[in-house]
Amino acid sequence: MPIFDRRSRKEALLLVLTILAGLAAGAVLMLLTGNDPAAGYGYLFRGGLMSLERAGNTLATAAPLIFTGLSVAVAFKTGLFNIGAAGQMLIGGFCAVAVGLTADFPRPLLLAAMTAAAAVSGGVWAAAAGWFKARFNVHEVVSTIMLNWIAYWLVYYLVPAYFKGPFATESRNIPAAASLRTDWLSGLFDGSYINLGIFLAIAAVLLCAFLLQRTTLGFALKAVGFNRLAAEYAGIDAGRSIVAAMALAGALAGLGGMTLYCGYAASLQIGVLPSQGIDGIAVALLASNSPWGVLAAALFFGVLYSGKGFMNAMTSIPPEIADTIIATIIYFAATSALMEKGVDKVVKRLKGGV
């Protein structure tokens, strides 16, 4: 079993140390600002987990993060940096909302149509960046940033023009039939805003794990990421793999948009790029791009994000501490070489003592 080999065990240890270091940095910040870290973390984790309702909210918060985390991870596997998950979410979410507000289908068919609309539109949006890269050598960081802003302004004008809601900055609320929230699920979690998005997200994790580890396409994507020239020499069409990877990444982010606007919320906000797009990078990094790691990392971030409101209400610690902790964890993940050296030293000393 690969999980138990020495290398992964060390990686797991480093990951735990990274997270602990991030939490410690958060504690130091709380101390410096005159707060009690024990109380802060107590409220933070209780806010994310203490009741069924809050646990449900945590899952609802995690769902879009799972999608954007997968999106960034799949692109990373092929050597592409998808900084455009936010734009892909907007486009996917917009198309899902548009279908939900206009189509008059029975609920199962409606949800299926919305899912398809979100995945296809997000996929096409990102595939454009992949195609620019493969065909014209356009750096994907620039093209996805440009596509983010194009998505931002498209949605900014399309929503008020066709789906104007009661507030100028939002679309109309989607009808109950088009919402990912269901009575039985909300009932199960004491009225939390958990929704079907979490099941979709878990399905996506399974699909990505299968795709990357068990299929030819997955092999081609990873091969191009490892070494594009070698992959081409082995007969893999690198250009096609790049477009496919971006299309998949965009489809995942698009679905993330749907779970955000049709599950977590009930309308589409304009004038803001969804922050989950950038957070997806953090999720993917913490997970070292493994689909199951993405699930775990997104759930962890979900706890921090859904607990921060409660902590802020109970103490004077600003909610931004959650983002600071996550950001610090990512920095420690980037500098894990330092920690690795430390671990090696400790191991050596322990062994040397025998």
Partner: protein
Amino acid sequence: MWELVERISPYAVAFTVPLLITATGGLYSERSGVINIGLEGLMVVGSFAAALTIAALQPVMGGEALWLGLLAAVAAGALFSLLHAFASVSLHANQVISGTAINMIAGALTVFIARNVTGSGNIQVSPFARFDIPGLSDFPVVGKLLFANTYPTTWLCLLIFAAAYFVLYRTVFGLRLRACGEHPQAVASAGVDVGRIRYAAVVISGACAGLGGAIVLTTFSGEFNGTVFGLGFLALAALIFGQWKPLGILGATFFFGFASTVATSAQAIPALAYIPGVALKTFPYVLTLLVLVVFSKTTRPPRASGEPFEPGKR
């Protein structure tokens, strides 16, 4: 029509300048071989340091506080960029990850501190006043375009940009810096410390980005709120759009500046009123994509950018 251009020009220049200075900073870093995705975060840090300084000093010393704010921003940006330099140069970390972490830490930490210090995540300051440069602003054609209604920071940044051009292309340090981005092993074999040059380059990029963030604050925004509206990412795009060359960056940032300003002020312009808003707003980004599609085949980023320096590698 000409009157229109004259009217828009000061706003476009104001929007361009922070982009230009930040992209110039990015140029140092990337030409030395260190990718700096963290420009956005470094701008936020600069904007925050300036806001704190100015908010504290403006009641005491008035307008002069703005300059001290810029100075604080430069220092804060340089200091914060050490995090990125340490990770990517000393620890051979993945530079994209480190830069992303910089962006996230900056956005979260500054608002966290702002809330603790001022009770809210926003800090207001009164920005620089615009002025006409005496004599030059009466010049025909260019006078109204470039020398009327300008901010003092604009001239400071153009000076820094010119200096950057000189440093990168006319000094030994610049030659070595550019060589570090192409073939660091060759630089090392000439007895030069690659790590030190890369550290210097990243710190300069942090100082420039910090200044860029502070200029956003002290000219057209007037308020710190934890973001710089994606300008750091746009500067990064301009850097790549401008093909990692100073004049390319100058052109790319001015293009962004003018296109965005035309889009924002379109309602006030009868000639543009017929064009749908969405077309105007997306225009700079769509055009950038098209230009990149046409020119990217021949673009080449610095050869060693993104690669940690390994002395033994050939």
